[in-house]
């Protein structure tokens, strides 16, 4: 289990190896990686800056991870989220879940992403190809995606 907030890039293979090193009880590993798209909602972007709330960010990610661990039988999980200046194609976020079976690993990974998108205090500011900066607005679909996990209770 773990959360990290960092400026540096991450390597998916390295993270998965570290997370599951020495474990023989894991039967399923799911990874999700979020990356910077060149075009967002019709705007071409040169890059973006991710701001966050140090302290609260780690706290919220840990809370979301603990919630996932209480809902599914996870042997291990990891959330890595970057901040700072990013370019199209760069990694933004990594979620890894490990469980005995794939159902829990898939579901927990999706849950972690849905929940962190609506609760972890990050804000994206895009630099458009036209030279203008623009704060990304929250999408209603993200709220709906997180909400459906509540209805399932």
């Amino acid at each position: 289990m773990g959360v990290r907030v960092q400026r540096e890039d991450f390597d998916i293979g390295t993270e998965v190896r570290h997370l599951t090193a020495g474990r023989v009880d894991v039967g399923a590993i799911v990874t999700f990686t979020g990356t910077v798209r060149v075009g967002n909602e019709g705007r071409d972007i040169l890059g973006m800056t991710l701001e966050h709330y140090p302290g609260m960010t780690e706290g919220e990610l840990a809370r979301v991870e603990a919630e996932a661990a209480s809902r599914w039988p996870l042997q291990a999980s990891l959330i890595v989220h970057r901040y700072g200046a990013l370019k199209p194609g760069d990694n933004i976020v990594l979620v890894v879940t490990a469980s005995a079976h794939r159902e829990a690993a898939f579901a927990a990974a999706e849950f972690l992403m849905d929940y962190l998108k609506t609760s972890a205090p990050f804000w994206k500011k895009e630099l458009g190809a036209d030279g203008k900066e623009h704060w990304v607005e929250a999408r209603q679909s993200d709220g709906a995606a997180a909400e459906r996990w509540k209805k399932a209770d």
Partner: protein
């Protein structure tokens, strides 16, 4: 009661500061009351909190609703809806 107030993203840009310590007057007991009071501090605050219904708040680094009490709070933060992930 001195309270540390932090601003993030476009709320920070509009107020022109990332954080400050303010002495709250009597009668400011909730997050919503704090927003109303902040709006009166100057045009930059009025502008920052013009869309008060959009702005989210946290007390001591936990999300709260506008009606949340400030009693015992050490740090209050204001920010737009989050857009990470």
């Amino acid at each position: 009661m001195p309270l540390k107030i932090r601003y993030f993203a476009w709320v920070r840009e509009k107020t022109g500061k990332a954080e400050e310590v303010l002495d709250l007057p009597a009668g400011v007991g909730t997050v919503a009351e704090l927003v109303t009071w902040l709006k009166g501090l100057g045009p930059e605050y009025a502008e920052a909190f013009a869309r008060a219904d959009v702005i989210r708040a946290a007390i001591d680094q936990a999300h709260v609703k506008p009606g949340a009490s400030l009693a015992g709070a050490r740090e209050v933060a204001f920010f737009p809806p989050v857009t990470g992930g």
